[in-house]
């Protein structure tokens, strides 16, 4: 096919996903499209014909697509293929997605990146389970342009009546999920009818051919007109600059804009947009661009925060609704915990409720509290801390997320806030009205005067593992040696500072947050502070560490649940077993052990004395290791 090189040379390829039930002829359609648009490398068809001859099997156009041997053997496309070709109008990339149900995760992988979709339906079999499921998922993935191909018309004698039946059936289903197909085209992919050239067999059809339908799709555009969403991907300090790096997901930003970082509530102005090997410094950026900015104030920023303009902030919520598709081998269950990834943020979420599982065949609801693999459901999720998000309708880029279980992505969902409060992040007062005041006594001065370094020894472990026992004895021994040392103990702090907090996940997180801040103040005052808290969640401990990583030493007081139950010094395990304590770490609530603690002490194997000796050895050898004493900088964003 001749084409205009000048038009094509700089046009962006439109990505088309081809979906449909297994064996309805998706790969055949693609092979035929490539052949008829003259897009195959010389010799490709010939070499495949030879392979077929050698193997004694008839040549199929689908083989062009199925480059993997495994696929030729099984005759099914098990993974997506990306195949470029050109029409007269523009370049395309065809994403050929597998139709087999067990490869749904591959189909989603392919479809999610497409600009438009073609749903292939077999004229003999009509609309099948995967035709419906794929149609439903395309909609859920956010794809709004869909053409339907009724294939194998040659096998139904190019019957207009059969075509009308099948197109009526699919049109009705799609209408039920709010989708109107752009075209429904009768095709015989094997023989090339209505693929590129018009069919001589179906004079009754006057609509476009497949290639004409493709050329009618509009390219996706970046959402530059939506409010600014700039998720922090990383903070770079390779040189004198502190660069906040990330991709603008929607909207625009420019130098001088005041950014609000959710959910921390901190604000700062864009001082510059950084770049490398560019003659003129950029002063603005828009959706789709990977950029780096510097800020006019040194506020504490980390990956996962979502920058917006102050006047158009995202929603902040711990509780939200989602419609999701589930890919996990184990079913999604109400009450279970998963890791949620939304833009660059990660949160631990619990499935509060499975509201309904949707039967994609007839769109009926099924009431269960679990979701099987490859099913679609509406659920309510609860995060342990505030999540910055948008509803999918308002902003698809920040209104969608994936769930991770163990090492695997097990589902994807789109957010709605139906029936839930719409709270937005307000700029934190601390950031707006407080400025840090520099001490005239530095931490280094204090260390010199104390003749030891300060720091936080963060003891974590199950109830009954020996944290308090070890902490109090280490305190006594260090004090005798002349150290400035103090223990923050869980039960003691809860009687005062944290007497307003309970034991639910949020309160536990807040308990640890406050202890982290107090410990940090002690450490800044030059002291060694020992904290003895169960602190079961890794994320909470990481947050405490993040305040001043160089002062933080995580010590894992390790003893098995069985051993701790045997000891049960406070009688808590007994109460928990009787059900008088609802969420008890180790029994009915999780404990996440440290992955890389600075020190682990096994209190089942060691005596109290031996455990204390190990901690003392660690302090004297590692905490006090380097001379002369040089203090790390005081955290810049803390008002003192």
């Amino acid at each position: 096919m001749p084409y205009d090189a000048a038009v094509l040379s700089n046009a962006t390829a439109l990505k088309i996903v081809i979906v449909g039930h297994v064996d309805h002829g998706k790969s055949t359609l693609v092979g035929r499209l490539l052949h008829e648009t003259d897009s195959l490398p010389d010799g490709k068809t010939q070499s495949l014909r030879e392979v077929c001859e050698r193997r004694g099997m008839p040549f199929e156009w689908a083989f062009v697509v199925d480059a993997l041997q495994a696929e030729r053997d099984q005759g099914i496309t098990i993974d997506i293929a990306h195949i470029p070709f050109r029409s007269r109008l523009r370049p395309y990339v065809i994403i050929d997605a597998p139709g087999h149900k067990e490869f749904l995760k591959n189909m989603i992988t392919g479809a999610a990146s497409a600009d438009a979709a073609v749903l292939v339906i077999d004229a003999i079999e009509g609309v099948q389970e995967q035709s419906r499921r794929h149609g439903y998922l395309l909609h859920l993935l956010g794809l709004r342009q869909l053409a339907v191909v009724v294939n194998k018309m040659d096998a139904v004698d190019f019957s207009e009546q059969r075509f009308d039946e099948v197109s009526g059936e699919i049109r009705a289903y799609l209408a039920g999920i709010g989708v109107t197909p752009t075209q429904i085209i009768p095709v015989s992919a094997r023989h090339g009818d209505n693929v590129v050239g018009r069919s001589g067999q179906m004079a009754w059809y006057v609509g476009p051919t497949v290639i004409e339908a493709l050329d009618g799709f509009a390219p996706s555009i970046e959402p530059t007109e939506l409010p600014l969403r700039f998720p922090v991907q990383d903070v770079f300090k390779f040189d004198h600059r502190r660069i906040i790096a990330g991709r603008v997901e929607s909207g625009r930003l420019k130098v001088g804009d005041r950014l609000l970082f959710s959910p921390s509530g901190k604000t700062a102005r864009v001082a510059s947009i950084e770049s490398w090997n560019s003659a003129v410094p950029a002063v603005s950026a828009a959706a789709g661009q990977s950029i780096g900015v510097t800020l006019d104030e040194q506020i504490f920023i980390e990956r996962g925060q979502l920058a917006s303009l102050v006047e158009a902030a995202p929603i902040e919520a711990e509780l939200f609704r989602a419609r999701l598709f589930w890919l996990g081998r184990a079913p999604l269950q109400s009450g279970r915990r998963y890791k949620l990834k939304l833009a660059t943020a990660e949160h631990i979420v619990t499935v509060e409720k499975v509201e309904r599982v949707i039967d994609v065949a007839d769109l009926a609801s099924v009431a269960t509290d679990w979701v099987e693999r490859n099913a679609v459901a509406e659920v309510v999720l609860r995060a342990r801390s505030k999540v910055a998000l948008d509803t999918f309708i308002d902003n698809p880029r920040t209104g969608r997320f994936v769930l991770v279980d163990n090492y695997d992505i097990v589902g994807g969902g789109v957010i709605s806030m139906e029936g839930l409060p719409d709270r937005r992040c307000a700029p934190a007062q601390a950031a707006a009205d407080l400025t840090s005041v520099a001490h005239k006594v530095t931490m280094g001065d204090r260390w010199k005067s104390n003749r030891h370094r300060g720091g936080i020894l963060w003891l974590t472990g199950l109830s009954g593992s020996g944290k308090s026992t070890v902490a109090m004895e280490v305190e006594r021994r260090l004090f005798q040696k002349g150290y400035q040392v103090f223990v923050l103990d869980g039960d003691n702090v809860r009687q005062g500072l944290n007497s307003d907090l309970g034991f639910g996940p949020e309160d536990r997180a807040e308990n640890i947050r406050r202890v982290g801040e107090v410990a940090h103040l002690f450490a800044q005052a030059g002291m060694i502070v020992i904290t003895a808290f169960i602190s079961p969640y890794r994320a909470d401990r990481d947050r405490a560490r993040a305040i001043a990583p160089e002062l933080f030493h995580e010590i894992f007081v390790d003893a098995s649940v069985e051993e701790c139950q045997r000891r049960d010094p406070k009688g808590l395990y007994a109460k928990a077993r009787q059900g008088t304590i609802a969420e008890f770490t180790g029994l009915t609530a999780p404990y996440e052990p440290p992955l890389t603690p600075q020190l682990a002490i096994d209190t089942a194997a060691l005596s109290v004395e031996e455990a204390v000796e190990e901690v003392l050895r660690y302090i004297e050898r590692d905490v006090q290791r380097t001379e002369p004493v040089a203090a790390p900088p005081v955290r810049p964003d803390v008002a003192l």
Binding site: A67, L68, I78, A111, F238, D239, A245, N277, G288, V402
Partner: protein, 268 residues
């Protein structure tokens, strides 16, 4: 601000490189000295504002075309790259050569030393400049593609990958291959080279009517007929060519599934 399709490709690659650097503890980049990995290196310097914050690994088979090694040494120095050079001296001492079978040779001199470097340095992520449009099995790849303990690729059970959420959690002992150029085409690569003025090995430019279109080891890499002596002429040529990019690479053709076997065992 208007953005071209090259800007979009560049932004996506930078996003991927930054994800790899942030999410993976010990990451390295493979540098084959070919056009794609030169572009990748350039993109890394853009992503990290002039820095390359991870080691750059070159697997030297000893059969590389001499110009490639000269190019490597010159730019490693000029761009101050943290370069690691790997190779399988033992196999070479035993006389490993393509004559012993091309797939056998590629496995011994490329795949094995790569696995060894990954083991030795404890890399949990390796950034590789492969592209979907190069070859059928590469077309199936994920951007973040897991490899098991023995560096094998399970192409039959790949993780889902959508909405730019990549597989960044993986079991100890396994590692990830990261493919920031997966969505680029050969023509895009050359147009980007032209726009950014990225230095390239001379072997890509025609001499006496022939040029290299893809670079590898001297015994297994052939030239194609071409009169393109500049980047602009290469771009013109690619707009009309019907010859596949890896047509000069002999190891792909040893048998019908040679390249697939190489890749599933851990080849890049």
């Amino acid at each position: 601000m208007s953005t071209s399709d090259l800007d979009a490709l560049e932004s996506q690659s930078i996003f991927i490189l930054r994800e790899a650097f942030n999410r993976i503890d010990k990451v390295a980049m493979l540098w084959s000295i070919g056009k794609d990995s030169n572009v990748l290196l350039w993109l890394a310097r853009k992503a990290f504002f002039g820095h390359v914050p991870f080691p750059v690994v070159h697997v030297d088979t000893s059969y590389k075309i001499p110009e490639m090694i000269e190019f490597r040494d010159r730019f490693a120095k000029e761009w101050k790259l943290p370069l690691i050079i790997g190779g399988n001296q033992e196999a070479l001492a035993d006389g490993m050569h393509p004559a012993k079978g091309r797939v056998t040779c590629c496995t011994a001199l490329k795949t094995e030393p790569l696995k060894q470097i990954i083991r030795e340095h404890g890399f949990t992520g390796v950034i590789v400049g492969i592209r979907r449009d190069e070859e059928g099995t590469r077309a199936k790849e994920r951007v973040f593609s897991p490899r098991n303990e023995t560096a094998e690729w399970d192409f039959k059970d790949q993780p889902p990958e959508f909405w730019d959420q990549f597989k960044t959690d993986f079991a100890p002992g396994t590692h990830l291959r990261i493919h920031p150029l997966l969505h680029w085409g050969e023509l895009d690569v050359w147009r980007y080279i032209e726009r950014e003025n990225i230095p390239m090995v001379d072997l890509y430019f025609a001499k006496n009517g022939r040029r290299y279109r893809s670079l590898g080891c001297a015994p297994c890499t052939g030239t194609v007929a071409s009169n393109a002596t500049t980047v602009a002429e290469i771009i013109e040529e690619l707009r009309t060519t019907r010859v596949s990019e890896r047509s000069g690479r002999a190891q792909d053709k040893e048998s019908e599934d040679a390249f697939e076997r190489l890749r599933s065992q851990g080849y890049m």
